[in-house]
């Protein structure tokens, strides 16, 4: 590798710090490095630091996604489990673990522009919204607001041990509270995915002989669908895209209610499960599940 470097002239002008290019070619390794090389070394450091942080956030986001998904699977078992209370408690434990990860995300973002790293954490946050709103629905039969979600994402310095661990920002004034705000778009995308889970809840609840939940769900999903229709195309493309799947989920739930209404009286309760299990197979096949 041949380094062609200016002849050591570090003339400092008003607008630039780099020496003239040489007119004759010289093959030499110059000590000290030119101002240009020094600059690029600092660029290397800056970019590496930025990429490292991004990677750390991606990893956290993946953990958040996995644990949120597991919480959702757990909550689906609520319908058939005799100990519903136990399942809800366990789900709260899981979600607390997710929130601890989100706390780490918030910590990484102290002093940063959140939007610079948004793409790294958005998938995890959407999955979290889906999980926490699912739990909230099971408990209250209503939709959790984004404000309510964000209230749970305000973190404080809990004990001295935590302060000493926060070395990455030790040169900054360590805040006593920091938070992560789920954006309106991430919230909407999470809620859109929630409707898919609610659709599955509807089908499985009938299989358990619960013929009230489908009608509750139908009403609830319709409210959400109305909300998304109201938003229409004023949101970003990703939101509009979800509308299609949402409509399908709503249709499946409405069809389930129809079947219950029309045929519910003629089929004995213990056979209702069979009617819907064949339907469930069809639905799963459509969605490409094994």
């Amino acid at each position: 590798m041949v380094y062609l470097i200016g002849s050591g002239g570090f003339r400092k002008r008003k607008h630039d710090n780099f020496p003239h290019g040489q007119r004759r070619e010289e093959k030499e390794n110059v000590n000290p490095p030119s101002a240009l090389m020094t600059s690029f070394k600092s660029f290397q450091l800056e970019l590496d630091t930025r990429h490292d942080k991004y990677e750390r956030l991606v990893k956290l986001s993946r953990d958040i996604t996995i644990e949120s998904k597991r919480t959702i699977f757990l909550l689906h078992r609520f319908t058939s489990a005799p100990n519903g209370e136990e399942i809800l408690n366990e789900s709260e434990v899981k979600l607390d673990a997710v929130r601890r990860k989100i706390k780490q995300v918030a910590q990484e973002l102290i002093g940063e522009d959140m939007y610079q790293f948004h793409r790294a954490i958005s998938p995890g946050l959407q999955e979290y919204v889906e999980a926490v709103s699912f739990q909230y629905f099971i408990k209250t039969r209503s939709l959790i607001s984004v404000e309510e979600i964000n209230k749970q994402l305000i973190f404080t310095v809990e004990d001295r041990e935590e302060t000493t661990n926060m070395t990455s920002n030790s040169h900054d004034k360590q805040p006593h509270t920091w938070s992560l705000k789920v954006t309106p778009v991430d919230y909407l995308l999470g809620v859109a995915d929630l409707t898919g889970e609610l659709m599955r809840l509807c089908i499985s609840s009938v299989g358990n002989g619960d013929i009230d939940t489908p009608f509750e769900l139908s009403q609830f999903l319709r409210q959400i669908y109305d909300g998304f229709t109201f938003i229409g195309n004023t949101g970003p493309y990703e939101v509009s895209k979800k509308l299609y799947t949402l409509k399908q989920s709503l249709a499946k739930v409405e069809n389930a209610c129809y079947t219950l209404k029309v045929r519910g009286s003629e089929i004995p309760k213990h056979m209702l499960a069979d009617v819907f299990s064949s339907k469930t197979e069809l639905i799963d096949q459509e969605e490409g599940l094994p």
């Binding site: 780099f18 004759r24 090389m37 690029f40 939007y115 309106p184 409210q223 909300g227």
Partner: protein, 226 residues
């Protein structure tokens, strides 16, 4: 809050966001127009007689940058100062273009690489994020890479115009730039792709230098410059 109330509030937030973006787009359009004017002006250096008018063109370009600074001031007012990266995509392209143009002017004036701080000053923005609307390092580097391509073209046209010394100086400059870029660990993004083009610029300039040296034209140029 009922579901419909929640969605109404969300729609409000989304609508607000769209409004901001619309305002930003308008200013960016104006910036793009100014950038085109500067580019048209500077492209003239590739023509034969253009070489003589370089100082004048640089001066005129710097006047245009005054307009850029005014437009930047306007852009800064269109969104909350701490949400730079939320809207960054809107001006990323024109900013990279302006970095290239500033770097080109500085090169034509002094044959050196403009620093990040110097470009920021020319454009009327900050070099650090903490101080406000700033120049992102990747946008600076993208603009510099565009300069490399432009200089490769300039090397070719210099020879055509009879200036046999300039390509040699461009060669030295580009090779040092290449060394600098080799220090960077880039991810597979648009900056990386643009960097991949640098080796073709280097090659092109090497060919020009080779063409000159085997014909002894570079020595002629060296003699001419003493």
């Amino acid at each position: 809050m009922s579901v419909s109330e929640m969605f109404a509030a969300l729609q409000g937030a989304l609508g607000q966001d769209q409004d901001i973006r619309e305002e930003i787009r308008k200013v960016v359009q104006a910036l793009e127009q100014t950038a085109r004017e500067i580019l048209t002006l500077l492209q003239g250096v590739h023509q034969g007689p253009g070489f003589q008018h370089i100082p004048k063109k640089c001066q005129k370009a710097r006047e245009h940058f005054g307009t850029v600074r005014t437009q930047m001031e306007s852009l800064k007012t269109k969104f909350p100062a701490d949400q730079y990266y939320r809207f960054h995509e809107h001006w990323r392209f024109v900013l990279q273009r302006l970095v290239f143009l500033a770097a080109f002017v500085v090169y034509l004036e002094s044959e050196t690489l403009v620093t990040r701080e110097a470009v920021a000053e020319i454009l009327g923005i900050e070099a650090d994020r903490e101080r406000g609307f700033h120049l992102d390092i990747e946008d600076y580097l993208s603009g510099v890479l565009t300069l490399a391509s432009e200089l490769a073209r300039l090397a070719v046209n210099s020879v055509t115009a009879g200036d046999y010394a300039r390509p040699l100086r461009i060669s030295t400059f580009i090779n040092e730039l290449d060394s600098g870029f080799r220090l960077l660990n880039l991810k597979n993004d648009s900056l990386r792709k643009r960097y991949d083009g640098l080796k073709y610029d280097v090659k092109k300039i090497e060919e020009v230098v080779y063409d000159l040296s085997i014909r002894g034209l570079n020595k002629e140029a060296a003699v001419g410059e003493k």
